[in-house]
Structures are given as structure tokens and as C-alpha cells.
């Protein structure tokens, strides 16, 4: 493993790749810190730029945007009291009170340092767990893959909105979108409606960009016509001052347990499909409060809250990459975009990747490590700049983003059909969002649907049309049981919640 790690580091220690990581982290922090623009959207917008790059350069860039994006949210959480991304919601709980006490600099310093520590913690877990998991996963057959993908889809559908049924419907829509074109195994052409461009199916990129970037523009337009006037951009507080890291060695020691616990929670939640940084920071905050000696102080501006939230959300990054790298199955929207970054270069992530492209995998580990280091340096050195950029008005930012979406989508195949489908997916995504359907299951359905179908047909071909291996193969059976349990638990939870609502309203 050590020789691979060294080879991985050597592969990214080129001027070009280091530059890409630097730029990626920088852009990620900007996207993450501006409310309304998520880390996922940032990674999506950078996807088209990676076509012409070497695989390691392109993937390093995407991972760097991811790391920067998850961390950047803390800047607006502390200074604006608006989380830049859902991953830093819990950071506002104590970050904002600290700013009111005149401790904004300290809050930022702690947030930055613990973002770094959480990120590194999860990276170590990723490096320890992924290779051995890949060794097991190599033996998986079609039934195992099918069961794992079904489990992921159910988790994502159940957890990304309040309603399992709506999540599943969204997921099925995504699977349907992937039907268009040439069917797996039989290679028959279906659902092309006589459109020649559809024979190849929808490309992933227009779907991703359409669903993750465009609804934001429509949202802004709708807000504008509803209210007639938007409040002008929120006031940014600039009364912060960082001395050193902003905290003492004694405080650092006292937060050790909290940091380890929150990082562990973040990594574990990241590995599970369906839930990511948006959940882990809240969960870690709650756990830290529960285990604290003085829980009543949470929310009044103590560092424990920021430590919990920021180490957990950054720890999610390493965790989320575990299923992607070992199984080729993304667990959330951002890793789905990174998966597209692999497929653009004709690389299929999964257990075999560790054998065929080991240097690339360890190169990605190295890139993540370097990205975390750049993140802590850039956030300390360039804080003033990021704060300035926070005041770029949304209407300008999003208009410019649209042009990027168009050109970026076009760049993939030089096809205006792709661009048109991007806008159509954007409109569909916006309508569904308005009807309170989650968008992440659509994307995961679109990406995992073909995987489920291919493996199902292949498996049934091997078993002469019998579904029995789903029960007799232990790993497949385990994941089918997990899937059923997920459905049972989310349904029970929803019914319970509904009864409560009815009781309250009576």
C-alpha cells in the first residue's frame, strides 16, 4: 500500500495538478460560501472543464471543489448567519452568537481548523477502509450489485425528502430518463420517439447541470415576481479579526473528544447512501450537546458547537467517497457528479479500479490530502477576499452561471441537443421542486438505473430467469433485507409523524 501511496502522491505533485487543486479549492470555497449556490452545483459547473484534462488532473480538480465547497459554507454561517450550504446549518447555532459577542474571528478560526481536522480524519478512514472493501467487492456478482444499488436508491428516496413515496417517484423518473436509447444486454432501441439524438440516450451532464443549476435561476425569478422587490443583498459583517488560529492550546485539548466523535459521525453518515453533510452536521451537533457536561450552553456561542458541526460536515467528504470508489455507487448528489467525472474519461469506478488504476485511486487520495491543506491555508490567508466575494449579488452570479451551463454542456459533444435537454431537465426539476419532490433521487435513479437493469438482466440470464439468488446469495440477501427494513422504518416514521400532526391540529 505504501508504494502505491507514494506513486499516487508523485502523480499529483506536478505543477499542473497542484495548480488545478489550488484553483478548485478556491472556487469551491466561493461556491460554498455564497448562499443559494451549493457545493454540488460548484462541482457540476467544473465538470465540463475536465474533458480535455488528464484523468488525475480532472478528478483532482473535482475533489478539490468538493472539499472547498463543503468547508466554505462556514464563512457565511458565521458572518451572515445564513449557512452557505446545508452542511453548515449547525455552524450558525453557535457561530452567530459568537459573532454577536465580538468573537467572529475566533469562530471562523475554529471552523477552519476543525474543517481541516474532520477532512483529514475521514481521509485516513477512507484510505484504510477502501482498499480492503474493494478486495471484498471484487467478488460481487450481478445479484449483489443489483441489491446494493436497490438499497442505495431506497435510502436516497426515503431520506432526501419527508416522503418515501415522493422520493421513490422521483427516483423512478430518473430511471425512466435513463431508459431512452439503447437498452442494456439486448441492445434494442427504445423510447427515442424517433429523435436520432436520443439513440445514444441522454448524456449525464445535461441532466446533472439541468437539475442542479437551473432551478436556482427559476427560483430567483419566481421570488422576484412574487415579492416585486427582493431585499438587497444581506449585509456582510467585517468586524472580525483572527490572531493565530483564534483559540488556545487548552481549548484545543478540551475539544479532542468532541472532534473525534463528530468526525466519526460525519464519516459514518457519509458512507451511508442517501444522507450527507446536510444531516451529519446537525446530528453531530445534537450528539455533542447530549454528551456535554453543560448542554445548556449550546447555542449561546460556545466553540463546542462549531467544532462538532464543522468537523462532521468535512468528515462526510471522505466517507461519501468510500462507496463511490469501492463499488462505483455514489451515495449523494455530489459524489454522483464526481462519478460523471470518472465516466467522462471512460473510467468505471469500482473494486477493479484498485487493480487496474491503483495509481489513480491513490492519486485521488493524495489530491484530497493536498486539497485539505490548501483549504486551511486559503481560508486563513484569503478570508478577506472570500468575504468580499460574498457580496456578489445573486442575480448577476446566476445569470453568468447560466452561460457557463450552456457552453459547458455544449462542450461535451458539440451538441445543441444536449443544451436543449439541459434546459428541459431544468424546467422539469424546478416544477418538481415546487411540488415538493426531491431532486437527488432523480439524479441517482438516472445514474444507478442502468446499473440495476444491466445487472438484473445479466443475473437472470445466469440463473435462467430465477430470482432465487436474491435470497440464497448471502450478501445480496442482506442488502435486500436492508432495503425492506429501510422502507419499513421510513414508512413507520412517516405514519407516526402524520398522526402527530393530526393530533396537534385537533
Amino acid at each position: 500500500m505504501l508504494d502505491m501511496l507514494i506513486a499516487g502522491f508523485l502523480s499529483v505533485l506536478t505543477v499542473e495538478t497542484m495548480f488545478l487543486i489550488f484553483v478548485g479549492v478556491f472556487a469551491g470555497i466561493i461556491f460554498g460560501s455564497i448562499p443559494g449556490i451549493s457545493a454540488t452545483m460548484g462541482v457540476t459547473l467544473f465538470l465540463p472543464l475536465t474533458y480535455g484534462m488528464e484523468p488525475i488532473g480532472g478528478l483532482a480538480l473535482l475533489c478539490a471543489v468538493y472539499i472547498g465547497g463543503v468547508s466554505g459554507g462556514l464563512i457565511s454561517a458565521v458572518l451572515l448567519n445564513i449557512p452557505g450550504t446545508p452542511a453548515s446549518i449547525a455552524t450558525t447555532f453557535d457561530g452567530h452568537p459568537m459573532r454577536q459577542k465580538g468573537e467572529a474571528g475566533k469562530a471562523l478560526g475554529i471552523g477552519i481548523v476543525y474543517s481541516f481536522l474532520g477532512g483529514i480524519f475521514s481521509l485516513i478512514i477512507l484510505m484504510l477502509v477502501a482498499p480492503s472493501l474493494a478486495r471484498i467487492a471484487v467478488q460481487f456478482g450481478p445479484f449483489e450489485y443489483c441489491a446494493i444499488a436497490l438499497f442505495s436508491l431506497t435510502m436516497v428516496s426515503g431520506l432526501s425528502s419527508g416522503s418515501l413515496v415522493k422520493g421513490l417517484l422521483a427516483c423512478l423518473l430518473g430511471i425512466t430518463a435513463a431508459f431512452a436509447g439503447i437498452a442494456p444486454v439486448s441492445a434494442a432501441t427504445r423510447l427515442t420517439f424517433g429523435i436520432p439524438n436520443l439513440v445514444g440516450g441522454f448524456s449525464t451532464l445535461p441532466v446533472l447541470i439541468g437539475l442542479f443549476a437551473l432551478p436556482q435561476i427559476f427560483e430567483l425569478a419566481e421570488k422576484k415576481s412574487r415579492k416585486g422587490n427582493l431585499a438587497s443583498s444581506a449585509e456582510v459583517f467585517t468586524d472580525y479579526n483572527i490572531k493565530g488560529f483564534g483559540f488556545t492550546m487548552k481549548e484545543f485539548k478540551s475539544q479532542m473528544g468532541n472532534m473525534l466523535q463528530s468526525s466519526f459521525i460525519g464519516t459514518a453518515i457519509g458512507i451511508l447512501p442517501g444522507i450527507g453533510g446536510g444531516v451529519s452536521n446537525m446530528f453531530a451537533y445534537g450528539m455533542a450537546q447530549k454528551r456535554s457536561k453543560n448542554p445548556e450552553k449550546f447555542g449561546t456561542g460556545i466553540i463546542d458547537g462549531i467544532v462538532a458541526s464543522e468537523s462532521a460536515n468535512n468528515a462526510t467528504t471522505g466517507g461519501a467517497l468510500v462507496p463511490l470508489l469501492t463499488l462505483g455507487i455514489p451515495g449523494d448528489s455530489t459524489t454522483a457528479v464526481i462519478l460523471a467525472g470518472f465516466t467522462i474519461h471512460n473510467i468505471t469506478p469500482g473494486p477493479n479500479l484498485f487493480n487496474t488504476d491503483g495509481v489513480l485511486v491513490y492519486g485521488i487520495f493524495a489530491a484530497l490530502f493536498i486539497a485539505n491543506i490548501f483549504m486551511i491555508i486559503q481560508e486563513f490567508m484569503g478570508l478577506r477576499l472570500f468575504v468580499k466575494l460574498l457580496s456578489i449579488p445573486q442575480h448577476i452570479m446566476l445569470s453568468v452561471v447560466f452561460i457557463f451551463c450552456v457552453v459547458g454542456t455544449f462542450a461535451l459533444n458539440n451538441s445543441m441537443f444536449d443544451v436543449l435537454s439541459m434546459v428541459i431537465f431544468g424546467v422539469v426539476g424546478y416544477i418538481l421542486q415546487k411540488l415538493a419532490f426531491p431532486l437527488t433521487p432523480i439524479v441517482l435513479g438516472f445514474i444507478l438505473g442502468p446499473l440495476v437493469e444491466t445487472n438484473l438482466l445479466r443475473g437472470l440470464g445466469l440463473s435462467d430467469g430465477s430470482f432465487r439468488p436474491f435470497i440464497t446469495e448471502p450478501i445480496a440477501a442482506a442488502f435486500i433485507i436492508f432495503t425492506v427494513l429501510t422502507i419499513a422504518f421510513t414508512t413507520k416514521h412517516e405514519v407516526f409523524k402524520k398522526q402527530k400532526v393530526v393530533e396537534v391540529s385537533k
Binding site: L168, L191, R226, V406
Partner: protein, 163 residues
């Protein structure tokens, strides 16, 4: 829009979608294999139909329960009925489609500044729009994007009437 009405509208949309999809699977090319290219689509569309019916049933059963005991929601619903058409939203959607459809024939360098100027002006908070600034941003963005993609990434963005 009220949460439950959202469910109903969404469910009806998905129901129509599921039925149309299911019907379309019968015209899929048949293969000799017992499990053909219509196998998984049939399951997916079938599930879509079942789940949207579940959502519709859920809508009516929860409405009955709550409507009897609650007037506040009804009031809220009445307020929600006064649904104002979103003119700006509509214009933005039309603009984006028009831009994409005309891009190839008219050309990136001409159409992009116009779209950007229109978008930024439409979306800006009232009283905050500075036309000169918007014009400069529109032009600079167009040139920057064109240059970056053309020179660094070799993307042949349409020149349209500029040839």
C-alpha cells in the same frame, strides 16, 4: 400552494406519465429472450402508477381527517388559491429557451450579451439596477467565456451570422 395540493398535482402528473410509459412499452422491439428490453421498464412504470395512486389516496384520506377539525388550514388554502401568475418567471423560461434555440443560427457573441443583459435586469432587485454596470458585465462575461472555451478547450461555439 398547500402541501397536500402539491401532492395531488404531483401524483396526477406521475400517474399520467406512468400510464403513458407503460403503454409505450408494448411497442418496444421484441427480443427472442424471455426477459426483453421491456421487462425493467414495465416494472418501473408499473411502480410509478402504483405509487402515484398511493399518493392520491393518501391525499384524500388525510384531507378528510384534517378538514373536519381544522378551519385554519381552509383559510390558508383560500389564501393560496389566489395564485398570481409569475410573469417574470415565465419571461425567464421563454428567454432561456429562445437563447438555446437561436444560438446556433444567430451566434454566441451576439446573443449572449443580449441574454445576460436581459436576465440580470429582470432578476435584479428594484432600484438597484445599474444599466452601465450590467452592460459591462454582460460583455466581459461573453468575451471571457468565449475566449476560455475557444482557446483553452477548443470548443467550437457557434459564430452564427458572424461566420
Amino acid at each position: 400552494m398547500l402541501e397536500r395540493n402539491k401532492n395531488l398535482i404531483g401524483a396526477l402528473l406521475f400517474l399520467v406519465f406512468g400510464i403513458l410509459g407503460y403503454v409505450s412499452t408494448f411497442s418496444f422491439p421484441q427480443s427472442v429472450a424471455k426477459i426483453g428490453p421491456d421487462f425493467v421498464p414495465k416494472i418501473v412504470f408499473g411502480l410509478t402508477i402504483i405509487l402515484s395512486i398511493m399518493l392520491i389516496v393518501g391525499h384524500y384520506s388525510s384531507r378528510k381527517k384534517i378538514a373536519s377539525s381544522q378551519d385554519k388550514n381552509a383559510e390558508e388554502a383560500r389564501r393560496e388559491v389566489k395564485f398570481k401568475p409569475n410573469i417574470i418567471l415565465l419571461i425567464v423560461v421563454v428567454l432561456l429557451f429562445a437563447y438555446v434555440l437561436l444560438l446556433e443560427s444567430i451566434g454566441f457573441m451576439i446573443l449572449t450579451p443580449i441574454l445576460l443583459f436581459a436576465l440580470i435586469t429582470l432578476l435584479s432587485p428594484e432600484g438597484e439596477n445599474k444599466y452601465l454596470r450590467t452592460a459591462v458585465i454582460s460583455l466581459v462575461t461573453t468575451f471571457a467565456v468565449y475566449y476560455v472555451f475557444r482557446v483553452f478547450f477548443n470548443v467550437m461555439i457557434s459564430n452564427g451570422i458572424l461566420g
